[in-house]
Amino acid sequence: MTSFVTATLIGVSLGAQYALLALGFTLIFGILGVVNFAHGGFYVLGGYAAYWFVSAAGLPYPLAVVLATLVTGILGYLFELLLIERLVDDHLATLMLTLGLYLMLSTGILITFGPESPLFEFPLNGTLRAGPFYFPIANLVVLAVCLLAILGVYALIFRTDLGRALRALADDRQVAAAQGLRPRLLFPLAFALACGLAGMTGALVTPILSLAPHVGDPVLATSFLIVILGGLGSIGGATVAAFLVGLVEAYSSVYLGGSKGALALFVLVLIILVVRPSGLFGRIAREA
């Protein structure tokens, strides 16, 4: 029972992190039709940026997280505006561009910070005790911030003019533009939002998990898997799938052992995709 509760909490924490990553990934796919292979790179960059702001610039950790979010968001904005924008409808070209950016980001980090994991620890330690359960305070704080950020993303997408415009562009770009919505203004903003979310997640999570130049690889793989599971481009689907994947990972590592966790996850995804090929929340086909 104790291990079940602990595993659930870990799963929910993982799910919240994954949701932030997957939301950015699915937004970019849904709105621009681009699969952002650099997504994991922005996660790593966010982690290293926060590390640099704390260790080299001596800033408090919360401020470092905010700055890391801004840095990755601005970089994402520029990347879309200067490179992706020209080739946005060319799937192969954007694949090469984002993959190339990922290699540049991770290599740049490797050269700048070296291959070893830097000492980057969450400023709060200690555990919260409730009866037989122990919860690390750092994880609870990260969970709370992630949940708030998810709510923020939802509010932005479903409650603001900007979010409405982004959803319209995702639904039918040509008709949306013909209603006066500006792809050239909104695409870079969407990219900035997605990359900023990845960077923020990196800044929040790497002090707890690990920070190294290559930690973006599994992030990309997991984001991809969640977004396919939830239905490409679906915001609600990505959120539900993220928590599902987080919980499956946590339970399987507790009850099946580490290496079988990934196997369990892929079997689950395989089954879901056989039953529902468009994912859990694949888009409703347009009625003529």
Binding site: L181, R184, R283
Partner: protein
């Protein structure tokens, strides 16, 4: 208000429009009639900018639209209700309509929504429903309202009656009259010319990518009758 002069449009090697000249004056409702493939939709698309023209020009309120992106043309004051309606299927009716009024401020969005609901009561009834779940006629109303949400001086309606039941044809006709009463200038295409002729003031008959006849609605009716568009 809108002047199209000597317009050529090609898709790949196929000529869709050849030397087309059309004008729409303020307050008019101009109808383009013709068979499928006559070039009606190509002309609408060339005006809003979703297909490029290779010769000729499109001038709106004295401004040459050549080289302007689709979204700039829309913001210049051209509303567009596309063929096949193309509502944002996953978005609510309210979000569909307000997507047509981006960045004008809550107050003006509110006013636009209230006016549109007074003309099209179905909007208020279906406000929160995803537009993809509506019937064809209801979707057509949503597409109109979306195009009208910023109150553009010129409205392009591409095949507004296509595939609709008779009861909806009457509803849509009433809706178009409400827009006319507001002073909106309209350029519309229609294969089902009969209901559209009741709304138009002037028209053009198109065939094979060219304008064959133009004139007041009575003349267009006679030509359309002779060529069996009715």
């Amino acid at each position: 208000m809108l002047i199209v002069e000597g317009l050529d449009v090609r898709y790949g090697g196929i000529t869709a429009l050849r030397g087309v000249s059309v004008r729409v004056d303020e307050g008019e409702t101009v109808l383009l009639v013709g068979a499928n493939g006559a070039g009606k939709s190509s002309l609408i698309n060339a005006v809003i900018g979703t297909v490029p023209s290779v010769a000729g020009f499109v001038r709106f309120q004295g401004r040459d639209l050549g080289g302007m992106t689709v979204d700039r043309r829309a913001r210049a004051g051209i509303g567009y209700s596309p063929e096949g309606r193309r509502v944002f299927a996953s978005m609510s009716v309210l979000d569909n309509v307000l997507a047509g009024a981006f960045g004008v401020g809550r107050q003006r969005q509110r006013e636009a929504w209230d006016w549109l609901c007074s003309v099209f009561p179905i909007l208020a009834e279906r406000q929160a429903q995803p537009a993809g779940q509506l019937s064809g006629g209801q979707q057509q109303i949503v597409a109109f309202a979306r195009a009208m949400a910023s109150f553009p001086p010129l409205l392009l309606l591409d095949e507004p009656f296509l595939g609709l039941a008779p009861v909806w044809i009457k509803n849509i006709s009433d809706a178009i009259r409400a827009l006319q009463a507001r002073g909106t200038t309209i350029l519309m295409t229609e294969q089902m010319a009969r209901p559209a002729l009741k709304l138009a003031t002037r028209g053009y008959v198109m065939r094979g990518g060219e304008v064959r006849r133009e004139g007041p609605v009575g003349v267009i009716r006679d030509v359309a009758l002779a060529e069996e568009y009715l």
